[in-house]
């Protein structure tokens, strides 16, 4: 399956180069594609943060949800992945060991 991912990804990168890119993609499609990464990431994150065991869990034992809050703030202000991951995991550690 990883081979499949590699093949798909390679083809996606290669085909435009091979076909010469002056394809006129319809505007709406280009627009739609630009929104895909945001929506996929949001869709992946939401259940893992809010419904870790298939049930909505806002209690403090759901460390990921509460650690996500400062993580989002740091990401927003710093726009820096390094700080985001560092602060996020530090907060998770803090919550995990204090609760």
């Amino acid at each position: 399956m990883i081979l499949g991912m590699a093949l798909i990804t390679y083809l996606l990168r290669y085909l435009p180069l091979a076909w010469l890119s002056h394809m006129q993609l319809p505007d709406w499609f280009v627009h739609w594609l630009k929104l895909v990464p945001v929506t996929v990431l949001a869709a992946i994150l939401a259940p893992t943060l809010i419904m870790p065991q298939n049930k909505v869990d806002f209690t403090l034992s759901n460390v990921h949800f509460w650690a996500a809050i400062p993580t989002v703030l740091v990401a927003w202000r710093s726009r820096n992945i390094m700080s985001t991951i560092a602060i996020g995991m530090a907060t998770a550690a803090l919550l995990h060991y204090l609760i």
């Binding site: 991912m5 627009h31 594609l33 895909v36 949001a42 893992t48 809010i50 996500a68």
Partner: protein
């Protein structure tokens, strides 16, 4: 001639500061759900950070290969456009050049290269320098993450590396209030469908639906 290559390297190095922790986080979290070979293999032959993270996230939720491949395709569709954007500047007429340069089309190389396009000094060697820098950095940091992963006790803290990285990426992608709303819509739909459908189908449906709604909203009311 070799100048161009090294300029590509130099322009790309600062961006690597952001890639390194990302790679390490990928390696450390991937190794919780995959073997070391699989985790490293993904970095070696797929070489797409966001897709790799998302794939690991899906695998952790027990998604079927079809879902993972489809999601990979959807998430990486942007490579089609990025690659297309490179074409006028690369003038890569020979097949072998196209074949070899293709894997170097990544977010970071596109960002760095597009700055260079303005100076008219961009060429294939620049992309080669930029791409190899990114590739090597990604492999080394994935490896570092993979090797140190097992040393760190597994648990909610280490497992947060993946969501933290995804949050970091997501925030970087949200450039306007409208996009934020679209993202929230995707999250909401996923949550609503989550109890009824296998998680991974709810992700796909949420994505397709909210991206479509997003296009409609943004065309109806342009601007944030």
């Amino acid at each position: 001639m070799v100048d161009s290559f090294w300029r590509g390297v130099r322009r790309t190095l600062p961006v690597m500061l952001g890639v390194i922790p990302f790679g390490i986080a990928y390696g450390a979290s991937a190794v919780q759900h995959l073997s070391r070979f699989q985790a490293m293999g993904m970095s070696l032959i797929v070489f797409a950070g966001t897709a790799q993270f998302i794939a690991v996230g899906l695998m952790a939720q027990g998604a079927s290969p079809i879902i993972i491949l489809t999601t990979t395709a959807l998430v990486n569709l942007r490579f089609l456009l990025m690659s297309a954007a490179f074409v006028p500047h690369l003038r890569a007429r020979r097949r072998i050049v196209q074949v070899l340069l293709a894997p170097l089309v990544v977010d970071e190389t596109l960002a760095v290269s597009s700055v260079e396009w303005g100076t008219e000094k961009f060429d294939k060697r620049f992309l080669l320098g930029s791409g190899l820098t990114t590739y090597v950095t990604w492999q080394l940091s994935s490896l570092a993450g993979i090797l140190s992963g097992p040393l760190l006790a597994p648990g909610p803290v280490l497992e947060f590396a993946l969501p933290a990285s995804l949050i970091g990426l997501l925030v970087l992608l949200v450039r306007s209030r409208q996009v934020m709303i679209i993202g929230l819509l995707a999250a909401l739909i996923t949550l609503l469908l989550h109890s009824f459908l296998p998680h991974t189908w709810s992700i796909l449906i949420a994505t397709i639906f909210s991206a479509s709604v997003g296009v409609m909203i943004q065309r109806w009311k342009p601007g944030s």
